[in-house]
Amino acid sequence: MFALVSSGFLSRRGALVLLLLALLAALATGALAQTKESPGKRLEAIRSQMDKGQGLFVAGNYAGAAEVFEAGYSAYPYSAFLFNAGVCYQKQNDVDRALAKFREYVKVDPNAPDLDKVNQRIAALEAAKATALAAAAAAAAAAAPVGDAGADADPDAGALPPPPPPPPPPLILPSGDDQNSMKSLVVIETEPDGAPLRIYQRLDANAARFVLGAATNPGWKEVVATHAPANLTLDVGHYHVVVEKFRDFNASEADMAVSPGHVHQLKANLSQGEFMAFLRVSSNVIGAHVWIDDKKKEHPLWGNAPHGELVPGGKHDVLVEAPGFEPFLSSVELQHGEQKELEVRMVRVGYGVLRIDASAPEIKVRIDEQPKGVWRSGEEPLDARFDSGSHKLTIESDGRKTFEGTIVVPRGQILPVHAKMIPKYPRGPAWTQAIIGAAFLGAAIYVGSESNRLYDQLQSDRANGSLESSDDRATKGKWFAVGADAGFAIAGVLGGLATYNFIKDPLPESSVTQGKLLEFEDPLKARPVAHLGPRKLPVKNAVAAEHGPRFEFKPSASSNGGGLFFGGRF
């Protein structure tokens, strides 16, 4: 498709010339097909700028609104920005800057339908300014000293400074402007281009519906007569757009309601004799991918939200997807020439991804006690998908303290987790003490048992009258008892030391650091943009849409003369 939207300050013919020159330059240099900004995106940017300025104006931030409109005009020189900026200055009583903007508006858009109104506004402002200046001069004169009266006064009085002049009266500009004063940008296109346009404004709210071909349409006034494509700055109001009979195409018409500070787009498909509808899809997820009538996503996406385009009237399926969000699918019914905005509120998916790495050569990750993988140093972080919510995270690494904790998995986002794995405190001394202590304990138990056994024997022998006083088992058992006690004492000391050294741990526990939440990677980002302008969508009983680049040279003839039509799609 042709990729330029005509600017309001250029004449139609001049725009066509510029367009042809641009295309020829592109072909000559081999720079194919793609301008820096597609018409759709450009129009969306204009729309965004206009909406932003209108929002500030409604909020009473006239300075901010003026700044936005000025910037909008710098980037996209449409006269609506100039007018709106002038209104903002006027609301600030900045008469000079307001006059400058209105004068520039008249200059760049001499065919504006509201030219008379703007000139009247300029005149009113100039008059108000003159009145204010006169009042100021009078006030200054009244405040100035009269003749030499002052010279006869007390010479001492001459030492006093003259009193300051009174301040000029404040400049009060007419300020009946409200949000409906903002002008809107209206873009009207035809397929094919060049069709003659007439735009009628409804002056009487009670006027009957506009009837094409009627002798008169009371309450309606023709405000614009031009050819498509046209970029117009229009007041708020109801309009009727008529595409007159052109070549072999019949006339078409459509109603249009212009709201304040907006960008409107109309396109007439003359082959079908109908105006196309305008659909804009916005989302709480900026950049969400939008497909129209392509549930299976077999074709390139329609656009990224917010995105608006002309679409054929009728019912359309809208599929909106964004990584990390549940797909949104809805049907939209559009009338011919209707403009509709579909606001999609996307909901994040019920799962998230943990992206785990660590300060260890190798870690083993378990979630809710289930193994989830092994990560090794030098590899990409381990991604693990889980249902959102709290999960028990366990990270193990040889020779390092195990991390156990609860982690909250976000919905539809990636949570980077870096585990700081602290080496285990060496337990060698503790084990040594424990083993030696156990050996002493075992020996003590053995000799203690032997001591008890000998004592029991001696007791038994004493009971049966056989024990003799010099029985060496008494001496033996006594030394066993001493040895057992010593063994128990040493084992106790070593056991205490071992316990202390098992418990002692000056090193901190392993921990995890959670990074800033990341969005899911968008696989479509790597895909080339498949089209630069509004895609010709399949329409019932319509010629099948053609895909792929196409260049076309076609002879053209009209009452104004003949020529060669050159067009293309990239």
């Binding site: 056989s466 006083s469 057992a484």
Partner: protein
């Protein structure tokens, strides 16, 4: 599971620690022990506990422990009372000189008629020379004298002394205050006795047909005090015979018969009150059994001239009981234990009736072969003799041969056991008996 084991181990350790920490309990358990070993004096040349003799007078009891026959002397010990037994010798001069030959059987006197006066607590310990040659007697007061022997024995002693070829003179007394002393000279097949309060020997005469010509003649002797008289028993184990005599008064004796038929009969003899009457009874062992014969019945035997030896000549009911070796969980090896190598009678429980103590010096004790043991029988049962107790040394060692010699010193109101274990030179006093009521024997016994 592991935690529970740790806890059990810990508790076990603490329990063991608590139980084992008081090592002083070993001092307590051996304090006042029921068995006391006597200390062998350094002057004892060879052996200790080979032969024993005891004498009691006026509440004082002495124990004489002899060494190897003919080679060593004997040492005297004050048995004293139960709490403070004398474990060291009070006099080791018994038959300690080179002119005295220790007998295999010594005899104790409550009172002995010494040449100058009656002396208490004397012992006939052997043969030799004091002032004259004869049987050597030494008293508690260290006075020594000799008793003349029959001429043949006296001549033989002179010859032996001259040739320094000692010969054994076994001796025995009864336990009366004025005992009769019976002696023998096996080499000459001579036996004689000294009536109470007399130093004159009276020779025993065997029937002509008596089969007594054996070197074992008189190796075992016993004197029974019966109804004012005495029954003299003279064993000839080589001939499986025990010849019996009796005396009533004066120096006359009459031959009243011979016990025989059982192999090895007469290996050991002992006298004491076993049954309920006041007369001594005779205890005699053979190769396998021990027999208890009523002393009163023997005393009633008429004089005879027959040298035949048998049990059949005994009157009915004269044989009180006969019993063989018994064993316990600590003792084993009855067959080769030399059961009956020594016998004694003592009133171990103080009930007036004596128990028979039989030595088995080759008995295996707790796996210690030939450690030896003493088996105690309550033989006064009218119907059946009961094996009531077994005595051994808790520190028994292989080769002790406890029970090679046995006497029963009198202590207060009862008798205790003194037994020799000459194999390793031990002599032990056994204070306790299973027949004693609990707590009736002081702190040494349960």
């Amino acid at each position: 599971m592991r935690g529970r084991l740790w806890k059990l181990s810990l508790l076990g350790g603490l329990a063991l620690s608590a139980s084992a920490c008081s090592w002083s309990r070993f001092d307590d358990v051996v304090e006042d022990s029921p068995v006391v070993l006597l200390t062998k004096p350094n002057s004892m040349k060879a052996g200790f506990g080979v032969t024993l003799a005891t004498a009691t007078n006026g509440g004082q009891t002495e124990l004489l422990v002899g060494g190897t026959t003919n080679l060593s002397g004997a040492a005297l010990y004050d048995v004293g009372n139960e709490q403070a037994p004398g474990t060291t010798s009070v006099d080791s001069g018994y038959c300690s000189s080179g002119s005295c030959f220790l007998s295999s059987l010594m005899a104790g006197f409550a009172n002995a008629s010494a040449p100058d006066q009656v002396r208490p607590l004397c012992f006939a310990v052997g043969s030799g020379t004091v002032l004259q040659q004869g049987l050597v007697v030494r008293c508690k007061d260290a006075h020594e004298y000799t008793l003349d022997m029959p001429p043949a024995a006296q001549d033989f002693l002179a010859s032996s002394i001259a040739k320094n070829q000692p010969h054994d003179h076994p001796m025995a007394t009864d336990r009366s205050d004025d005992p009769l002393l019976l002696a023998s000279l096996p080499e000459k097949r001579l036996a004689w006795f000294y009536p109470p309060k007399s130093r004159e020997p009276s020779e025993l005469v065997l029937p002509d047909d008596a089969q007594a010509d054996d070197s074992s003649f008189g190796r075992s002797l016993a004197v029974l005090a019966v109804d004012g008289g005495r029954v003299l028993a003279l064993g000839v184990p080589g001939k499986s015979s025990v010849f019996l005599f009796k005396t009533e008064a004066g120096s006359q004796s009459r031959y009243i018969g011979c016990l025989g038929e059982n192999s090895g009969l007469g290996r050991a003899l002992a006298a004491g009150k076993v049954d309920a009457d006041d007369n001594d009874d005779l205890v005699v062992s053979d190769d396998h059994n021990v027999h208890v014969i009523d002393g009163a019945a023997l005393f009633e035997l008429p004089e005879t001239t027959s040298g035949a030896c048998s049990f059949s000549s005994l009157p009915k009911a004269a044989l009180i009981s006969s019993f063989g070796c018994g064993s316990t969980s600590n003792l084993s090896g009855c067959e080769l234990s030399e059961f009956g190598a020594a016998v004694a009678v003592g009133d171990l429980d103080g009930d007036g009736d004596g128990e028979v103590i039989v030595g088995a010096p080759k008995m295996t004790v707790r796996g210690q072969e030939n450690a030896g043991a003493l088996l105690v029988y309550d033989a006064d049962q009218a119907s059946e003799t009961a094996f009531v107790d077994a005595k051994f040394i808790s520190s028994a060692e292989s080769g002790d041969e406890l029970g090679r010699s046995i006497v029963t010193p009198h202590l207060d109101k009862r008798d205790i056991i003194a037994a020799g274990a000459p194999g390793r030179g031990k002599t032990a006093l056994f204070y306790c008996s299973a027949l004693l009521p609990h707590g009736a024997a002081g702190s040494r016994c349960p």
